[in-house]
Amino acid sequence: MANLIDLIISADEDVRNRALDAACAKMTLAELLKEAAELDAFRRQSENLYQRVRALLFLHSIHRFHLPARLVAEKSGVIPFKGYSNLLERRFEEAIDVFLKTQAKDGPSDAISSALASAYQKLAFQTLADQVRRSVRGVRGNQWMFRMGHPADQPLRIRKELTRRDPNTGLFPVLRERTPVRMDLTHCGWSDIFFLGMDYPEGAKVLNISVDLTVHGRDKHPAPPVEASLRVIEQPVLRLTSVDLGCTADISSLNEVFDFAKDYLGLLKAAVIASGIVPPGIEGSGQDLAHLLERVVGPGRGLEIVSNVNNIPKGSRLAVSTNLLAALIGVCMRATGQAGSLDGGLEENERRIVLARALLGEWIGGSGGGWQDSGGVWPGMKLICGTVASEGDPEFGISRGRLMPTHRILDTTDVPEDARRKLQESLVLVHGGMAQNVGPILEMVTEKYLLRSEPEWSARKKTHGILDQILTGLKHGDIASVGTATTANFHGPIQTIIPWAGNLYTETLIEKTRTEFGTDFWGFWMLGGMAGGGMGFMFAPERKADGQRFLQKTMSETKRLLAAALPFAMEPVVYDFAINERGTWAELLTEKDALMPSGYYRFIVPNLLRMDRRALGAARHAELDRFADACRTRPELKGMVSTLFDSIFPDVEEDSGNRETLAATLEKYGFDHATHEKIREDLRAGRIGLAQNRLPANTLIDDVRESDLTDIASGQTLPDNLRKLGLAALANGEVAVVTLAAGAGSRWTQGAGVVKALHPFCKLGGRHRSFVETHLAKSRRIGRLCGTAPAHVFTTSYFSHEPTRRFLEQHDHFGYDGPLVLSEGKSIGLRTVPTVRDLRFAWEEMPQQTLDVQQQKVRESVRTALIQWAQSTGEAADYTDNLPVQCLHPVGHWYEIPNLLRNGTLLGLLKKRPQLKTLVMHNIDTVGMDLDPALLGHHLASDAGLTFEVITRRLEDRGGGLASVNGKIRLVEGLAMPREEDEFNLTYYNSNTCWIDIDSLLSTFQLTRGDLTDATKVAAAVRTLAAAMPTYITLKDVKKRWGHGQEDVFPVCQFEKLWVDMSQLSSIETRYIAVPRLRGQQLKDPSQLDGWLRDGSASYLESLCEWE
């Protein structure tokens, strides 16, 4: 039997590279538990960082994937709340100890394994992140900044050239750094993740190219897309301006410099800190910024720093932000003598220090990219490789590789001039318009690498061969072969390592391009973390212009088709690009040229013109004079006067159109103004709110007993007669499926406002499938099994109805044979600005995951800003400052069943199938549920009005459960739990799948089948029962998009009523059945997908589906 520790410490590389999965495959439960105990002991005593991390990820994998399969027959357990709260507060070691103690006491269980899996994984990534941080601080040239805690110790001085004001113009010189962005022609299999480079430097290799860009058709020639400008000012402040984000501030205190999320100036602040002007060591010192600036610039003086991105959208996968940060750091370093030359290029050692500082800046700002991202600082094409740490490196003895890679600039023998030209003549760079969070992907890649999972490990090794093919292709100017290699990379290794790197949008574009261009389409190339954003398409040179036109049109059309299903942040764009052969470059602008970029004046001048001329000061006067002069003489400033005029006197109120659409939508869906006003009033008065959602504090919440439900969770089978009963009902057309598809799935796209039901979430049966198609495929299989296709209803809302209708129509209803109906929602709510009380309750009273130190600081800063936003906008005011769909909300899934009654859907179904007796309602993301005949038979035989399906709880299953509430068995919503810890005593979690007996339901509403034709009676009945249902106040994140792909997330307030509360009614007989996890689990977050694919859930789902 393999000892798993051997896979970590063996001297034999082949043993070390063996996959954990294969080693665990044949182990029994007892053997696995023994191995886990040994691994835990090993990781506690090991002093080697990577041995510890590998052991932790092994433990995570054992508890997440290998033990659960062997624990199905074991008794379900509970997770101790103490361990959970330790986990939230990032006390991972303590959490693990608590969970292990529970495991020893109660025996192993699926529940405790889920908790251990999470704790081990978090500890592993925390350990890695801590090491990267130590390495960033330990880079020579960065260390001193952490020692400096007092202005008197500040050793940096501004270069004299910048302090000499021009006697004629009165202007200080402006130092301007312009930097290209970078593209990675290989897509390196994410080998530029720090953790990979530091453990596997030989495998960390990328071909990184510095490029200038412009949006196709906008400017004549591509130019460096990012620039940073700096000058001395006669005020002791830091004046930071982001032209691209339209934000400026005069910063006069040190605390403000370290407050990253207060405004949109986080990147500039990070640069000021990482360049040492305000060194990180001075944070929290209580010192005076003016004194610090006095040391650097001189008494009474300060610095003005301006960032500008030439309208290149966010999420381009060209590392725009990192290169802008690098440009800002570069300009600050040059200005303070930390680079030899004030203008021109940088020396290699200076570029390396800019890279080290950019890494530092990203960490300070709570973000993080790969180590190749500052590639724009270097000229032209370069091979960036991981480097083995040697004596003298801060990493030596800790990790195999260094934090900082080595850059080798490729010369014309590596890639001849001709090949460079050919590449530019073939490649079309685009931004597909999607902006996605790649954070989870980076963690997945690291984990798979450290586990050496097959086939991911083979795929990783294949990427090296692809890099060689690309280099050979470039050397010989054979761009078609480069295209072949990048395409093979995308379809092969990249998607083997991360199946989620591709998506339906990208595949559609590739397919359409191939159809249109045939052999003239040389290849596809994905930039960076995830497809849908930055992408490259290679064409035969004579077809490049056609390719650009085609892609612009095709991307826009495809986006329109998929806009409701996938999170697009912006309209797709095609770029023109050129290789930048000089890297970052600075100029010292003096005399009459000492002006900031033109965008700066577009943004600043209107404000200055509104000021009293006497308040402007001599320097601003001089600058405005010079700018006015330049507007008359410089061709690039032609048209500036009218631009300024427009921005001073905007002709229409910008969002008036928005308000009209919102009002019309509210009108259309019968918005209830009176109820809304009452809710706002109650919110403001504190009568309702997050705290008021909870049941009274003296409520007794206990776990249920075995006799309170039927349990088939551990593989027990229901009697065959029940299955036969169910099959007979199905064959007779007595059952309909009701899929709840009205919501946006806020967690699925972080509030992007797309229809989750339509999201092509996974490749199943050979291609991407949406939730809608998947549910229909299950109904199709059952229909064929019993001979009658069941009726299938998708409930919709103001927001999802039309897109779902169109989607089904476009796909010809996926060829579904049975009745397929959309039940349109009849209720709508208008979101409100949250109250400060609720924000504080959510952030301070409710348990939540503490973030890593720096990210936590940023989060707190964001929260302070959001509280100010709520106060200044007005607590409980209508939320209207967004697209109408983002301002409205569905009012909870309780309404979706009554809506069947109100909108005639049930009546219609009953007309078609008067024998209809049972509905099975389920969430859109409970993908493993189906019309299981035995479960149906069980429901029918029990004579229950409602049968809820529950599953045994895992750590991630938060939000209530099955409980005895003051002695009555019912489901309790998480929002209603009197105390957080109560939930942790409950064994079962509500899957929200519910079998409903139609007649019992109608009777609960005090209706009969015959009453369904009486709309007034039905409406009154629904209103009466609704009044008896609790109303929950919730906070939801919504995205507001602006600028070029920028997104802000706001927490907004809404109310909802939930179906689980039907279980508290005594007028309807309610039963519960515990079902296997594969059936009842939900997909709430895209980061769950990878585990879902690996743990057998996806295969289980496929076994339930018939796609054609």
């Binding site: 020579r140 040239g141 960065n142 001193w144 050793p155 940096l156």
Partner: protein, 292 residues
């Protein structure tokens, strides 16, 4: 005994007998003329105190580089030692390197001691700072610069050296790099010396015992364009053996804010009137406290 490193030795095996004091800086020209009370309680100019230390260390010929027209004032300030001193005007203000090179004819092919006119020194041992330096250069047979471990916040004021400790020696370093007023970023990359505390670097102390080759290098660099002493010393470090000696003493820069006061206090506390000076300080403190 100093271990050999294989680099060429350019220091003639003769005793250093010549010294250069630079005092031509426009802003510093009056500083050496300031009167202070020396360790023996005798009022003297700073120049005279410095010249006495040099002479006491065995050097007989001193050249002072001055602004044109300052010769007479300096001769007066030098007092009785003026007769052994030569006053060389720097005719054009072309920087410190140029000032040093003005004495090229004076030093000829001889090694020389180089000092700045606005610094005075107090030693922590019986031998003066100058004597310590000369003794080291004699036994090392190469150029030696006096250095002091200096906190990185003072880097904007000094030339700084990088290198490694000479095995078996506590205070001697083999110099690899010389950078004039480095930024802390550059210092951390190029000037970290094992054995010093974090954030401390070896910075020039204001006195050097230099081989004649340094003067040649300086001359060559000046002929090619602007050059300072640090660039000539950097080249020296690349071409020949060049040591740094951590002096057991303190430098006092008269040019600093309250520099004259602190220099005077240091001299007073290091000399025969130590008790009297201490009493004066205590008395002043008590009085200022009482007034507050």
């Amino acid at each position: 005994m100093i271990a050999s490193t294989g680099k060429t030795l350019h220091f003639p095996v003769v005793k250093v007998s010549k010294a250069i004091i630079t005092a031509a800086g426009q802003k510093q020209r009056t500083l050496p003329l300031q009167t202070l009370v020396d360790r023996d309680g005798v009022p003297k100019s700073a120049l005279a105190i410095l010249a006495e230390e040099i002479t006491a260390a065995g050097i007989s010929e001193i050249a002072v580089i001055v602004c044109p027209g300052d010769e007479a004032a300096y001769a007066t300030a030098a007092g009785p030692l003026a007769s052994g001193m030569k006053f060389i005007p720097q005719t054009q203000p072309l920087g410190y390197g140029h000032a040093v090179h003005c004495a090229a004819d004076f030093t000829g092919d001889d090694p020389f001691l180089l000092m700045v006119g606005d610094h005075l020194y107090t030693s922590r041992i019986s031998r003066s700072c100058t004597a310590q330096l000369l003794e080291t250069s004699q036994s090392g047979k190469c150029s030696v610069s006096a250095v002091q471990a200096t906190h990185e916040s003072k880097l904007p004021y000094y030339g700084s050296v990088g290198g490694r400790r000479v095995p078996g020696s506590e205070r001697l370093y083999e110099i690899d790099t010389v950078i004039e007023k480095p930024t802390p970023t550059e210092a951390e990359q190029k000037l970290v010396v094992p054995g010093l505390r974090a954030g401390n670097y070896l910075c020039f102390f204001g006195m050097h015992a230099l081989a004649p080759s340094v003067m040649e290098t300086l001359g060559r660099q000046l002929a090619a364009g602007p050059a300072d002493l640090s660039s000539a010393l950097a080249e020296t470090a690349r071409r020949e053996r060049y040591l740094a000696y951590e002096i057991q003493g303190r430098r006092h820069d008269i040019d600093l804010h309250y520099g004259l006061l602190t220099t005077q206090l240091a001299l007073g506390l290091a000399g025969k009137d130590r008790d009297e000076v201490l009493a004066l300080i205590v008395e002043s403190l008590v009085q200022s406290q009482a007034q507050a």
